[in-house]
């Protein structure tokens, strides 16, 4: 074997295979990256990117295959092994202890005696200056913003002397401006000779930052290409496996009546802090109102307030001129306001993980019918209907939904909500974790509802999708509306500015109304 050629790689993976129960997550994957290079790992959700990287960082253990670091074959059995080999991973869901200060998180797991706070603090500041990072070592993580937390994550691996950095979807939680700042830091690290792997499914970012791209599809490594020789269309084809149209339909509907009007609404989180701060907007029948914003800007609380799950401090939610505030969730459901929120773990709210489809269909309708007993017959019929209509893959109507794949779970949830024929459909992150095909099924479902004159509120993460799908886009920042704009005429940059609240706040959204 050509030893020389191999040693220039920081990481080389050969035929890595990993299974979870009966699911093949990685199937004989090959991958390599050099020092002083940024490699993008591109693939749809569920293509096995994160699994592969977790094996490099010692969280998972490959079932078979070889890993070479700096040309030497290694077995990475634990995060300590990975650390000793100079590998540092920045996880998508931060691995930080919220109750600790930044510096405690950074020194966590290092060898040696506990140093004085001051010494540690100095060391951290020194490293952050080298790479142009900004941090307050004494600050508690629980008090930090998302991008501050990410800085702590990066410092954590740098402090331990990592030369190979793996970033799992680092931009998912950042505004466009914060993303640019992160990329500048990554470029600086590349200059210093670090090998960097960045996982993402955003094509624009791949093109902007990487030197080479490795594409994964359904657990297999498909191809590795030089970024310079590529464009978005080619990458998508490689990722999905066939040419796809990236266009989302946006049917034009005639101007109609306003059905839901939110007036001066303020909502507190259960812990008492302010989540929604004095906002007003309205939704019309037959339109999709997109809601953009950095995660945690009040989207969840807004949904919950409309659904009657969270009390509001002031204001009103008018549904056909009737105030919904003070009504119980079941009364609001009766009125035809449907809310479906897909949380990060996908199952937390809306579906009962251990129950089958039949019992999940019952969730909002079990009270129907007289007597103390539940009537399962119509629910079972509905479940069977949805399986046929939406192509849900499940062994049966009684199989617990937690055993279904993410796409199917979301089809169950959305299908149930739509079958209840709502007049207002609020849906938050319905394509979270879905592959492109399933995502498009969801967009079609939403458009179908729009054509049926349903008012749709779509809370999303991907700005490109919001721009193509919505009629109007409302931007939330720290619980306030920083703008409501026409989706047909606005730009990504404009929305990005509003997401950080840096736009002019004076004429808040008035012109679009």
């Amino acid at each position: 074997m050509a030893q020389q050629q191999k040693t220039q790689y920081a990481i080389e993976c050969r035929k890595i295979t990993k299974m979870f129960g009966q699911v093949i997550a990685n199937d004989e994957i090959d991958l390599n990256v050099k020092y002083g290079e940024i490699l993008a790992l591109l693939g749809e959700n569920g293509s096995g990117k994160t699994t592969l990287m977790n094996m490099l960082s010692g969280i998972y253990h490959p079932d078979s295959g070889q890993i070479f670091i700096g040309g030497r074959e290694v077995k990475i059995n634990s995060p300590v092994d990975a650390m000793n080999l100079g590998i540092g991973m920045i996880h998508q869901h931060f691995k930080l202890v919220e109750a600790f200060r930044a510096m405690d998180n950074i020194v966590l797991g290092t060898k040696g005696k506990k140093e004085k706070s001051k010494t540690t603090s100095e060391k951290i500041k020194q490293i952050s200056e080298t790479y142009g990072l900004e941090i307050e070592p004494e600050k508690y993580v629980s008090d930090m913003s998302v991008s501050e937390k990410q800085t702590v994550e990066i410092l954590k691996v740098l402090y331990k002397g990592a030369e190979i950095l793996i970033l799992d979807e680092p931009t998912a939680v950042l505004t466009p401006q914060e993303t640019e700042k992160l990329f500048a830091i990554l470029r600086k690290m590349r200059e210093k000779g670090c090998a960097i792997i960045i996982i993402t499914h955003k094509l624009q970012e791949v093109l902007a930052i990487s030197d080479r791209v490795t594409i994964l599809r359904k657990g297999k490594s498909i191809e590795t290409v030089n970024t310079a020789d590529c464009d978005a269309r080619k990458l998508t084809e490689l990722m999905v496996g066939r040419p796809v149209s990236l266009e989302i339909e946006r049917p034009q509907m005639p101007e109609t009546e306003t059905i839901l009007k939110i007036v001066d609404l303020s909502v507190n989180k259960p812990d008492g802090s302010k989540a929604i701060d004095d906002i007003s907007f309205e939704i019309k029948r037959g339109e999709i109102l997109g809601v953009a914003g950095v995660a945690g800007s009040g989207q969840k609380e807004l949904c919950e307030a409309i659904a009657g799950l969270l009390p509001s401090q002031k204001g009103a939610i008018l549904f056909q001129k009737e105030n919904l505030l003070g009504k119980t969730p079941s009364e609001i459901i009766e009125k035809g306001v449907s809310m479906s929120f897909v949380p990060e773990d996908r199952l937390g709210m809306g579906l009962v993980a251990s129950m089958g489809m039949t019992d999940n269909m019952l969730l909002k309708s079990y009270q129907k019918g007289k007597g103390p007993f539940v009537n399962r017959k119509p629910a079972k019929d509905l479940a069977e209907k949805l399986i046929g209509k939406l192509g849900i893959v499940t062994p049966g109507t009684e199989t617990p939904v937690r055993l279904l794949s993410g796409g199917n779970v979301q089809k169950v949830l959305l299908g149930r909500e739509i079958e209840a024929s709502p007049t207002v459909l609020i849906t938050a992150y319905p394509v979270r974790g879905l592959d492109i095909n399933s995502s498009y099924t969801v967009y079609d479902l939403l458009n179908e509802q729009k054509k049926k004159n349903v008012a749709v509120m779509y809370i999303g993460e991907d700005l490109d999708v919001l721009l193509e799908l919505s009629d109007r886009i409302m931007v939330l920042c720290h619980g306030r509306i920083t703008g409501i704009v026409d989706a047909r005429s606005t730009t990504k940059e404009e929305i990005g500015m509003m997401m950080t609240g840096e736009n002019n706040m004076i004429d808040t959204g008035k012109e679009a109304l």
Partner: protein, 318 residues
Amino acid sequence: MDIIIKFLVAAVGAGTPLLFGTVGEILTEKTGHLNLGVEGMMSIGACIGFMVGYYTDNFFLALLFAAIAGACSALIYAVLTVTFMANQNVTGLTLTIFGIGFANFIGIFVLNKSPEGTLKLPERITAAMRGIHIPGLSDIPVIGELLFSYSPFVYIGIIIAVICAYYLNRTKEGLNLKAIGENPGAADAAGIKITKVKYINIILGGAICGIGGVYCSMIINGGVWISDNVGGLGWIAVALVIFANWQPSYAILGSFVFGALRVLKYYIPQSVFPFPIAFYDMLPFLMTALVLVISSMRKSGRINLPAALGLNYFREER
């Protein structure tokens, strides 16, 4: 005045088994594991420690074996919940039922074999457990009695609590331990050997509880074995952990306060407060319930409840 000093001294004595139980459980809970088996671990420690003391007449050996017995019973819990990821509540409860049953069973088994029909500790060990006497210091009026007159258990308990406080708040190992209880995923990614740290601390916690147990069997009933000698103190200890806000230093205070409640009935004259005895017996439990309610009402402040308490960790969960 005299009666107040006697009361305080008695309170410290009555609070000591609680101190061991509470500190042991704090260590356990800091790993993110809620061990409801404190009562069981204390019972097993009480039984084994007493029997070793009974047969060897050696205070140190009794203490050592009580600790080992507590550690072994905690090991059962650790294997089931850490390695086998069993439900922590059920495992802890089972340990309690098993522990009490085991202690009573062994107690009666040995009792049936003894010629006297009772199990009473021999003289030398009883003497060793009696209040210490430091010439000079112990003779100082009031202070001598309040500070230098207790059974060695009291000092051992306080020393253990202080060491644990130092360990948790001042050392890297303590920081690692707390990280595990807060966010095992983060601790794992930081390279801390989670399983090892969990085992060590759960077992240490069990050992400390075991010592608390042997106090119950050897001191509370004057060195005579009776069944059910821990009598619910283990449960109060679990609740005291909340009262102490997961801080060993507060545990010292908390257990002596509860010790005072336990001995109150001997010091309140019936003529002044004509409460029935049953009321005083109920008092510690009533107060514990009250503490639970109050601490759950208190929403402000930094509460030290480990965020991952009660959740088992599996690295490859997805």
